[in-house]
């Protein structure tokens, strides 16, 4: 599923990408601190869960996510999928009562070779972080990638996802994307 992982250290697919602003930490409201009030799962929460922070520091990540993390905009803000606008809160649809989640992500360039991997990371993160009752759908924002359908099909196929996660090498890369420790 991973294509073109062998880019050298110096060459980047996209050396000077557009940077988007990051939304801050979600402020804690009084309602959230009140023991009695139930808070329903909303798009922002999914968005926060799914922020795969591609932090700098892990050497081997250089190979796989060069265009994400190879350079830093501001020391206080390591680039994340959010800053690259790969994921946006408006592209997250969630319904707590119906137990469904749909996430669309946008690769930085139409030929991004990492699209499947990003999708897989998002999918795995959601699988680990949402209650089992949720049915989840991860796909590429329509019209933003050359092989959109192929990627979507792969991501939707439960068995292929499960098979992919049995590949140690792939699991390693996914885990690195999800690891909060930097």
């Amino acid at each position: 599923m991973v294509g073109g992982g062998g880019m050298g250290g110096g060459l980047l697919e996209n050396a000077n990408p557009l940077i988007y602003e990051r939304s801050g930490e979600r402020p804690v409201t009084a309602g959230e601190e009140d023991e009695q009030v139930p808070d329903s799962i909303d798009a922002r929460e999914i968005f926060d869960i799914r922020q795969c922070r591609a932090r700098a520091g892990t050497e081997s990540l250089f190979l796989y996510f060069p265009h994400l993390i190879r350079s830093i905009n501001d020391p206080e803000h390591p680039l994340t999928l959010e800053e690259l606008n790969v994921v946006e809160q408006v592209r997250v649809q969630v319904s707590d009562p119906e137990s469904t989640v749909a996430v669309a992500f946008t690769p930085t360039i139409p030929h991004c070779s990492m699209a499947t991997l990003i999708g897989l990371s998002i999918k795995v993160k959601l699988l680990r972080s949402l209650p089992q009752r949720f049915k989840m759908d991860v796909h590429i924002t329509p019209g933003t990638h050359a092989s959109e359908h192929a990627v979507n099909k792969q991501l939707a196929d439960k068995e292929r996802v499960a098979a992919a996660l049995e590949n140690t090498h792939l699991l390693e890369v996914v885990n690195q994307c999800l690891s909060a420790r930097s």
Binding site: E45, R128, P131, A180
Partner: protein, 1029 residues
């Protein structure tokens, strides 16, 4: 007689022979020390030792010779200070000669030479001869590590004492040393060798034609790649080697032509540590280099630094790259130019500008910030560089600001401008006209005002910060600009929607008001005063929420601008006047309004603390006013009108307490004495003469039979007397203390009796040790004991006990342990037990109103640690001995103590308490659970080894608590679940499936904050033992 003396001489000599024989032939180590001790005590001379060794020094068997020389060297090492010059000469000749001997002998010979190199009596010329002999005869790098180290020590010793002689050797010495250290591999020796090379260079030894050789022999270690072995007993860190090598490489410009290419090569390498080391070394070199050394390498250096900053993923590389650029520029700016030479600084900066300029025009793209940072790093190096860069960049950025219309792009551009403006603050310009910013002032101002009126908060915020920086430039803004700026700040201070810009505007107003008091008192204060009057009218009419918040903003703005004494003189009367108005019968003032005024007053007081004169002005003006209002309110009245009573509410009193405290702590002792002489009589004797508007319907007697309203005002007395400097004497102290104790146990009103107890404790804490203190203590103890016996005022007596204990614990008073025990005893009291447990929280925490360091109380730094070590064993014992129904009290008390203790202090102690903590996890009290979890969490992070023994208990208890009814406990339990992943993975793996299954439940918790913790904990557990984690 002579025979007897001869006999005496023979006897020890005989003993000496025996010792020497034992050492040389018997291969025993002990005799060497014995001989050395005897020589030191004068029993025999070094000559006699040599004589005794005689034959073994000439023995044909090299091992025996080595042994003989070893003994001599060991003796010399201990006794070199006793040697005479003549002896030294002979010994040196002997040892130099022995250097030619068998290789087994060499180590001992070197030891002997090391002893002699320490010798003060060494005649001139011998040092040189020893070194020559070593350079000639010994192949140092084929010796073991210890002996190589000995050679370095000999050289170091001579360099310390015989510098002139060694310099006489000229470049031969340098060459000899190069040969000695060539090929050295041991980190211990390298540290010494680097030190020697550094001294060679810094003490100006002749390097002759060997500069490049000396560079080669040291630079071959760059960049240092050394990882100390685990359990290394020598404790040499990689960092030590890096720093000492860097000191060598960066010590002289003569290395420049060799070093700079090497640094460029290593910056270009792929290894992070090599990049960092090279950039840091370059940074260090710039301190000694000049234009000449850098000239040929500037383009390559710039290219490397630029590439690193543009492309790196590591913040450290970026920071080091910027620092290197900064010092390069500083170095170029520093050099004195010959008239005909080209100014390298200009061409270098032009290069930077050329490469970075165009990125500044793309505020959305990623390279905009790295470019701005590079330019700012260079501009920060010198006034000249700053001028050059800003004169190029500012016009460009100003133009770009107008070209881009989106707020976020404008914000990026303005933020860059702000960065460049801040750099200007570093340089002071003598001549007003030369200031480079003057030319841009009008454009900058209009741009800032544009930003301030933009709808985007983020842009407003940057605009406010820029305004503050512009204002801080001396004589830049004209009075017209200031008037406009004040107008904008006034408008922003009343913005409704977003609190961020409003807070920033207040901060900027405060900073600018300190610089331009006239502008603010003429343009801002009158507007605020007007606003305040309008607020009063509105309030009188009945509130609308928006008006109410406008009123609040106005109060905050008033306190924010009170940063200059002259402004305080206008704002304080306004605020006090307002407070009086609010309490005039006509108005219905709510508690929150009065508190808001008090908070404003307190902020003004805080701002006055820096300036003694304002401080006294505030104290003298505000305190009589507040007291007068409070006394007025406490008067019993027939028609119980509501607004007056507002002042007696607990919250309002607390707000007044903090105003009085803040206004008192920074008073000078003599002024404080003036004030105390009026306030204490007010409370004790009802002397109201100093209060404004002091016509009250009846007497003020809070301690006598006065109403409960009057008694409540003891809190104000407390705020004042407990904030006084310790040296201020309090009049009528004896009577005051007795009244306080009396009131503290009076059962009528809990808040006034607590205030009295606190006041008593606050005064007690500051009293010097002595008879008076003991008397007061006795008084308190008697009262407490009487009160604790069954009766109506047990809880008051307990409060008094608690506060007195706290006062004593803070100052390490001997009686404190006795009182603490009394308190601990109460834990098993059926009635007072739970209160006593909570009391431990008070003992360990910092108060805000009394017994504070700011209020000059005697607070020893380590009191918490001390309390912990003194009392925790007793608490644990008490817990074990206590009956089942009061056990939670002990656990709760213990939790409070543990919770407040600084975590680093707590960690080493926790393992001994671990069993108790595990038991506490099963306690049903939420407070205990929460505090235990918060103790265990850092322990899991810091001491995973200890904790892994209990993994079974921990996993099950944490999972249990993760479904507790209390949200805080659920969160803490999940955080502990998360922290558990720090334990060694093999210990955790058996639990992984169970935990992952169990954590699926809190993923669906009804509270978002709980779900958040569950997500992160479960995510970590998934990663355990997985590839790539």
């Amino acid at each position: 007689m002579a025979a007897a003396a001869a006999l005496e001489a023979v006897a020890p000599t005989g003993a000496l022979w025996g010792l020497v024989h034992d050492f040389v032939m018997g291969q025993q180590e002990g005799p060497a020390d014995q001989v050395a001790a005897d020589v030191k005590s004068g029993s025999y001379t070094v000559l006699q030792v040599v004589e005794a060794l005689g034959s073994s020094l000439e023995n044909p068997e090299p091992r025996t010779r080595a042994r003989g020389i070893q003994l001599l060297s060991q003796v010399l090492l201990q006794c070199q200070s006793l040697l005479l010059e003549k002896e030294v000469v002979h010994l040196i000749l002997f040892y130099e000669n022995r250097l030619k001997d068998h290789h087994l002998v060499i180590p001992s010979v070197l030891q002997g030479l090391r002893a002699l190199s320490l010798c003060v009596a060494l005649p001139p010329g011998l040092a040189v001869s020893v070194l020559k002999a070593i350079f000639q005869e010994v192949h140092v790098q084929s010796l073991p590590q210890v002996d190589r180290h000995t050679v370095y020590s000999i050289i170091t010793n001579f360099m310390q004492t015989r510098e002139e002689e060694l310099k006489g050797l000229g470049a031969d010495f340098t060459f000899g040393f190069i040969q000695v250290m060539d090929g050295e591999k041991d980190p211990r020796n390298l540290l010494v060798a680097f030190r020697i090379v550094h001294d060679l260079i810094s003490r100006d030894y002749s390097l002759g034609p060997f500069v490049e050789e000396l560079f080669e022999v040291t630079s071959c270690y760059f960049p240092i790649d050394f990882t100390p072995p685990p359990n290394d007993p020598h404790g040499i860190q990689r960092e030590d080697l890096i720093l000492s090598l860097r000191a060598v490489l960066a010590s002289t410009p003569r290395f420049a032509e060799f070093l700079l290419p090497l640094l460029i090569e290593k910056v270009d390498s792929e290894i992070l540590s090599a990049k960092l080391d090279s950039l840091q070394t370059l940074n260090a070199c710039c301190a000694v280099y000049g234009q000449k050394e850098l000239k040929d390498f500037l383009p390559s250096l710039w290219a490397s630094i630029r590439r690193e900053v543009f492309q790196t993923a590591s913040e450290r590389v970026e920071a080091d790259g910027l620092a290197a650029l900064h010092s390069l520029t500083a170095c170029l700016s520093r050099s004195v130019l010959r008239a005909d030479a080209e100014d390298l600084l200009d061409s270098f900066l032009s290069n930077i500008l050329q490469d970075c300029r165009h990125h500044l025009c793309e505020p959305d793209m990623k390279l905009v910030w790295p470019s701005a940072k590079l330019l700012q790093a260079a501009a920060g190096a010198s006034a000249r560089a700053c001028d050059h860069i800003t004169s190029n960049v500012l016009p460009l950025l100003l133009e770009q600001f107008h070209k881009h219309s989106q707020s976020n792009q404008r914000r990026t551009i303005l933020e860059m401008i702000l960065g460049f403006l801040k750099l200007h603050q570093k340089w002071s310009y003598e001549d007003k006209d030369e200031r480079p910013l003057n030319g841009f002032k009008d454009q900058l101002c209009s741009l800032v005002f544009m930003a301030l009126t933009d709808p985007s908060t983020q842009l407003q915020l940057v605009g406010i910060r820029t305004l503050a920086v512009l204002g801080a430039q001396p004589d830049l803004l004209s009075s017209g600009d200031l008037e406009l700026a004040v107008g904008h700040l006034y408008r922003l201070s009343f913005l409704e929607e977003d609190s961020q810009s409003w807070v920033a505007a207040l901060e900027a107003s405060g900073a600018l008001a300190a610089l331009y008091p006239v502008a603010f008192s003429s343009h801002l204060v009158p507007k605020l005063a007007e606003e305040l009057c309008r607020g009063e009218l509105d309030l009188a009419k009945g509130d609308e929420p928006t008006k109410c918040s406008r009123h609040l903003r106005c109060l905050q703005a008033l306190s924010a601008v009170s940063t200059h004494p002259s402004i305080v003189k206008e704002t304080l009367p306004l605020l006090l006047q307002h407070l009086f108005q609010m309490n005039k019968g006509s108005m219905v003032a709510g508690t929150s309004e009065v508190i808001a005024i008090c908070q404003s007053l307190q902020q003004v007081a805080e701002k006055c603390q820096r300036d003694p004169e304002s401080c006294w002005y505030f104290h003298q003006t505000a305190i009589p006013c507040l007291l007068a209002l409070a006394v007025q309110a406490s008067m019993p009245e027939k028609e119980h009108s509501v607004p007056r009573k507002v002042l007696l509410e607990d919250e309002v009193l607390a707000a007044m307490v903090s105003v009085i405290g803040t206004a008192t702590t920074h008073l000078s002792p003599d002024l404080a004495a003036q004030s105390v002489a009026r306030i204490v009589p007010l409370f004790l004797d009802g002397d109201i003469s100093f209060l404004p508007e002091n016509s009250f319907p009846c007497r003020f007697q809070p301690f006598q039979d006065g109403s409960s309203g009057q008694r409540r005002l003891v809190a104000l007395l407390m705020a004042f007397v407990c904030s006084l400097p310790r040296s201020v004497e309090i009049p009528q102290l004896n009577q005051l203390m007795r009244e306080l104790v009396e009131l503290s146990c009076c059962p009528s009103c809990p808040s006034s009796s607590t205030a009295a107890a606190k006041c008593f404790a606050g005064l007690l804490n500051k009293l010097p040790a002595g008879q008076q203190l003991d008397e007061f203590l006795q008084l308190a103890v008697d009262k407490v004991e009487a009160g604790l016996s069954p009766g109506p005022c047990r809880s008051q007596a307990f409060t008094l006990l608690l506060w007195v204990t706290k006062a004593l614990v803070l100052r390490y008073h001997p009686l404190s342990s006795c009182l603490t025990h009394r308190l601990m005893g109460l834990l098993s009291d059926p009635e007072l037990g739970p209160t006593a447990a909570d009391g431990f929280s008070l003992l360990m925490s910092d108060c805000t109103d009394v017994l504070t360091r700011a209020g000059h109380a005697e607070v020893r730094i380590m009191f918490r640690q001390r309390f912990f070590t003194d009392n925790v064993p007793a608490l644990v014992q008490g817990f074990h001995a206590a009956s089942q129904d009061v056990k939670p009290n002990y656990l709760k008390g213990l939790s409070h103590v543990l919770n407040r203790l600084p975590k680093p202090v707590l960690l080493p102690e926790l393992p001994t308490l671990l069993s108790l903590l595990l038991e506490a996890l099963s306690c049903s009290d939420c407070v205990v659970q929460l505090s235990t979890l918060s103790c265990l969490q850092p322990l899991l992070l810091e001491a995973p080894q200890v904790m892994s023994l209990h993994v079974d208990t921990l996993v099950s208890k944490f999972l249990n608590l993760s479904s507790s009814p209390s949200m805080a406990v659920r969160i803490a339990a999940l955080q502990c679940m998360h922290a558990l992943t720090r334990l060694p993975t093999p210990v955790l793996l058996p639990y992984k499936p169970q935990v992952i299954r169990a954590l699926a439940k809190p993923l669906d918790d009804k509270k978002r904050l709980v779900r958040k913790e569950a997500v992160s904990a479960r995510g970590e557990w998934f990663l355990l033992g997985s590839p790539g984690s």
